[in-house]
C-alpha cells in the first residue's frame, strides 16, 4: 500500500510541472506493476518493504528513552487490598483522582482490572454521597462559602 501511494504523487507533480520529465514518469509505472506482482506471489517480500518504509519515517525513540528515565512509581495503588476499597475510605479513593477530581485511567494507576473496577464503583458511590467531588469546581465553591 505504501509503495502504491508513493509513485502516484510523483507522477502528478511531473505532469503538472514540465512535460520533459514525463520519460521519468514513464519509467516508474513498470516498477510499480512489478512490485504488485511481487507482493501477490510471495507475501514475505511485501512485509519486508513495509518494514523498511517504517524505519525511514519512524522518529520516536527519543520519547521512549525519556519514559525509561523518568522514575515515577509504577503503580499508584500497589499496596491496595481489594477489601479495603470502600466508598467510606476516602483517603484511599482520592489517590485515584487527579487534581480536577477525575478518575485516573488504568494506564496511570497500573492496577489490575478487577481492582480498577472496584475503585471506580466505590468512587461513584462516594460521589453520590458528596464524599468526593464530581469536578474540582464543586469543591472550590464549597471552600469559598466556608
Amino acid at each position: 500500500m505504501s509503495e502504491q501511494t508513493n509513485p502516484t504523487p510523483g507522477q502528478e507533480e511531473d505532469v503538472d510541472v514540465v512535460a520533459e520529465v514525463t520519460p521519468v514518469a514513464a519509467t516508474k509505472p513498470p516498477v510499480y506493476i512489478e512490485d504488485i506482482t511481487d507482493t501477490d506471489e510471495p507475501e514475505d517480500e511485501g512485509y519486508e518493504d513495509e518494514a523498511e518504509d517504517d524505519e525511514e519515517g519512524f522518529r520516536a525513540p527519543e520519547q521512549y528513552v525519556e519514559r525509561e528515565g523518568s522514575g515515577r512509581p509504577r503503580r499508584i495503588g500497589s499496596d491496595v487490598r481489594y477489601d479495603e476499597i470502600d466508598y467510606k475510605n476516602i483517603g484511599l479513593l482520592s489517590r485515584f483522582l487527579d487534581r480536577r477530581g477525575r478518575i485516573l485511567s488504568r494506564r496511570k494507576t497500573r492496577v489490575s482490572a478487577k481492582v480498577q473496577r472496584k475503585i471506580v464503583r466505590e468512587i461513584k458511590r462516594a460521589r453520590h454521597l458528596a464524599l468526593l467531588p464530581y469536578t474540582a469546581d464543586q469543591t472550590r465553591i464549597v471552600r469559598k462559602r466556608r
Binding site: 454521597l129 467531588p133 464549597v142 466556608r146
Partner: protein
C-alpha cells in the same frame, strides 16, 4: 421466604445540617422503626456527624452523615428506600447489600 432469606445491608444517608440533635435522633429512630417493621434486625448505627459536602446540595454545604448496618429480608428494601426518598431532610441516601 421472608424469614429465611435475610441479607446484610448497609445504609448511609445525609441529613440537612440545620436539623438539631433531637431532629436527627427522631429521624434516626424512624428509620430504625421502618427497618424493624420490615423484618430487619441487628441494627448497628454509626453517626459520622457533620461533614463538609464535596459539593453543595440544595444550597447546603454541610451534611449530617449517618450509617446503619443491619439484616433484613430483601422485600423490605423498597419500603426503607421509600421513607428516605420522601423525607425532605434527606439530601442523599445509599442502601447497599453487603454480602460476604
Amino acid at each position: 421466604m421472608d424469614g429465611a432469606n435475610v441479607r446484610q445491608y448497609e445504609l448511609v444517608y445525609v441529613l440537612q445540617p440545620q436539623l438539631d440533635e433531637n431532629g436527627v435522633n427522631s429521624f434516626d429512630g424512624r428509620v430504625c422503626d421502618v427497618i424493624t417493621t420490615q423484618g430487619g434486625s441487628d441494627i448497628a448505627t454509626e453517626v459520622w456527624g457533620k461533614r463538609t459536602l464535596a459539593y453543595p446540595i440544595n444550597r447546603f454545604y454541610e451534611g449530617i452523615y449517618i450509617l446503619h448496618r443491619f439484616q433484613m429480608p430483601p422485600a423490605g428494601a423498597d419500603e426503607v428506600e421509600r421513607t428516605l426518598r420522601f423525607s425532605e431532610d434527606v439530601l442523599r441516601y445509599l442502601l447497599m447489600r453487603k454480602d460476604d
